[in-house]
């Protein structure tokens, strides 16, 4: 009886340790993934391509700056109809600046300023560990499966299922869900390449969504470089001058 009790206690302790270790691993994996995906402060060029079911496509080019965990700005360089528009994100706050309007207006993370499958939160994505808690982590043959829960209701997706490559600790696919459990979209990373300064990460992100049957959006990354930036760059009054930093 005494032996059985001891065995139960040991089993309980082992289960607790195992669970804690997994939770800790999940957090560590996510933070390392964030570190590998983007430096603390950087500039980057991105091309967004919306592909329609009939094969036609439309392209947008953005210049992006990020600093710290929650400051990001994206300036449209092309096409001409969008040139000069800029979106700013400070934590959960997002604004859109339209040159003709001349002042920034608040926008919501679920809106899309470019149409297609990508929304504003995809374009102004912060570190995953800033927006999500690790709810669970599972080890598979070549991958980790992370179950992520949004920290607040202001985050665009309620929870994510993220498949992480074990060898590189980079994301492979991310399923994005609404609070109702509905799959909103799937993000797929590919084409890992070196961006300089030891930064090795995917250079292509594809997405499709059951809400946009037949449509696809692709994001190509280029010119990712570390850059020192003043905090004042990430303010509403600076949005009309972002181009000067290129």
């Amino acid at each position: 009886m005494k032996n059985k009790l001891s065995a139960c206690v040991i089993a309980a302790i082992l289960m607790f340790v195992h669970t804690t270790a997994l939770a800790l691993d999940g957090d560590a994996i996510l933070e390392e993934l964030d570190r590998r995906m983007q430096p603390e402060s950087y500039e980057m060029y991105r091309k967004l391509i919306n592909v329609e079911p009939d094969g036609r496509s439309r392209e947008f080019v953005l210049y992006t700056l990020k600093k710290g965990q929650d400051k990001m700005v994206a300036l449209f360089l092309s096409p001409a109809s969008e040139k000069g528009r800029a979106t700013l994100r400070l934590g959960d706050n997002m604004w859109l600046y339209i040159p003709n309007v001349g002042r920034p207006i608040r926008i919501t993370s679920l809106q899309s300023v470019v149409g297609g499958v990508f929304n504003n939160s995809d374009i102004l994505r912060l570190d995953f560990s800033v927006e999500y808690d690790v709810r669970g982590a599972t080890e598979q043959e070549d991958t980790y499966l992370l179950d992520l829960q949004a920290k607040t209701s202001a985050v665009a997706y309620d929870h994510l299922h993220m498949v992480v490559d074990k060898a590189t600790l980079l994301p492979i696919t991310i399923d994005c869900y609404a609070a109702s459990g509905m799959l909103i979209k799937t993000l797929r990373y590919s084409a890992i390449k070196e961006f300089g300064d030891g930064m090795v990460r995917p250079s292509v992100l594809e997405t499709d969504s059951p809400l946009y049957q037949g449509y696809k959006s692709v994001m190509l990354f280029a010119g990712l470089e570390k850059k020192e930036l003043a905090d004042e760059v990430f303010t509403l009054d600076y949005l009309s001058r972002i181009d000067e930093l290129r």
Binding site: Q111, L220, L236
Partner: protein, 449 residues
């Protein structure tokens, strides 16, 4: 081969049919197949093509056709058409907007030019304006100074900005169009922090009014000052705005905006003018001026539904506006043939008063209480890059309104096509019931470059 080409009609048809098949197959192979089975390798990103250049140019060219059914018996028809209004009013406008900048070191010279030619029922007209032209110096991200003609867009309201004391008046039907600026000198300082207070910025503007400089702003030979203090505090945008000068009376304002959820935002403005000189029409139909204390405010929400319907709602109280009774007295004044604006028997003072009154009473939304609603459905019927919207402006005082369905398509890169049909309605002697047109059909084609 020769047989086919020289053969009987059946063979000829067969030959033509074969060629059509070959052409169709080639077309499918060349156009449809590569398009529908795309591969990632098809996409290239030459980042060097987007390297920054000192000279930056852009703009758009536009053609707009408008057709209006004129409400011939309305007060405004008689006012604008000198008592002989046409039945319909057609207008074709070609316009060009050019913007650009040249940057060297910390200095940037930027400009925004607008020109249009217009042919309508009344004849031909053209205009060319410099909307903006200014030199900006940015010695650091925290400090900016500019000198020249510049447009200010202070305030958070979508359709109206009661606290935008140095803004050029906004057309609630086209709030996103560029507007002409004023000649000013300004200084802007920004500081960022960590904690509840994230950003503080202060903008100070000097706006002179003298001969040929900002004459349409207010009384001449004055130097006016305006300042705006902006805070991002606990995820809320907050502005404090003040204007002081003799061209217009001193005024104070405040604005705020905040996201409540990821799909819901609120905003508001308040403006107070302690001493406002306001033209009025008295009980006897005489024109006079009164000094009043006016407080205006605006409250608005912006909501995005799960099916991509964006709703913007704004309530606007215009403290400097006219009550339905005051508007009625003005309409009676215009209606009274003895005091038409075109009459030449009046004294200079009376004529001036009438012109001032006409400018005040006929400006967009001169009443006291308004509701603005814009329901905008992104990509209706799953048509990518299209937008369908319904815009309503209601004068809550007299119940008159304008209702505008709008369709926009921008599926061809750098082209935008917009179609609108506005209905203006209301009872006799109401704001929209007395507008010169019953409706307006509008087609607009815009090419960006």
């Amino acid at each position: 081969m020769n047989c086919a080409s020289k053969g009987d009609g059946r063979n000829g048809r067969k030959g033509r049919k074969g060629r059509w098949h070959a052409f169709l197959t080639l077309f499918l192979v060349a156009v449809v197949v590569p398009g529908s089975s795309w591969a990632l390798e098809d996409f290239v990103f030459d980042v060097e093509a987007f390297a920054r250049k000192p000279l930056n140019l852009g703009g758009f060219a536009e053609m707009k056709w408008e057709h209006m059914d004129v409400r011939r018996d309305s007060v405004f028809s008689r006012l604008f058409f000198n008592d002989d209004p046409p039945t319909v009013f057609d207008q074709l406008t070609a316009s060009l907007q050019l913007n650009g900048s040249y940057t060297r070191g910390i200095a940037r010279f930027s400009w925004l030019l607008y020109g249009s030619v217009r042919e309508n029922t009344l004849g031909w007209s053209d205009r060319a304006d410099v909307y903006e032209s200014n030199l900006t110096l940015s010695p650091s991200p925290e400090l900016t100074a500019s000198l020249g003609k510049k447009s200010y867009q202070w305030g958070k309201g979508y359709a109206w900005n009661p606290a935008g004391f140095i803004n050029r008046g906004k057309d609630p039907n086209n709030p996103e169009e560029a507007r002409e600026g004023y000649i000013t000198a300004d200084l802007e300082a920004i500081r960022s922090f960590s904690g509840d207070l994230r950003t503080v910025s202060l903008t100070a503007v000097v706006l002179p009014v003298c001969a040929d400089v900002n004459e349409d702003f207010g009384d001449r030979d004055n130097v006016n000052l305006a300042a705006r203090l902006y805070l991002l505090y606990r995820d809320t945008d907050i502005d404090g705005i003040v204007f002081s000068g003799n061209s217009r009376s001193t005024r104070f304002g405040g604005t705020f905006s905040r996201n409540i959820r990821s799909n819901f935002a609120i905003h508001g403005e308040i403006a107070h003018v302690p001493r406002l000189n306001k033209p009025t029409v008295d009980q006897n139909g005489g024109l006079s001026r009164a000094t009043i204390s006016a407080t205006s405010y605006l409250l608005g929400v912006r909501y995005l539904s799960s099916f991509d319907l964006t709703t913007i709602l704004e309530y606007y109280h215009n403290g400097a506006g006219y009550s339905p009774a005051e508007m009625e007295r003005f309409y009676h004044l215009i209606d009274n043939r003895g005091v038409q604006l075109s009459d030449t028997g009046a004294t200079d003072l009376q004529r001036d008063l009438r012109q001032m009154a006409a400018a005040d009473f006929t400006r967009p939304n001169a009443g006291q209480d308004y509701l603005y609603a814009r329901l905008s459905q992104k990509e209706p019927l799953a048509i990518l890059y299209s937008n369908a919207a319904l815009i309503a402006i209601v004068n809550l005082g007299d119940g008159s309104y304008s209702l505008t369905p709008e369709l926009t398509y921008s599926g061809i890169t750098n082209w935008e096509l917009q179609m609108r049909f506005s209905v203006l309605n209301g009872g006799a002697l109401s704001e929209y019931g007395e507008k010169q047109n019953r409706n307006k059909l509008e087609f607009r084609l815009r090419y960006f470059f």
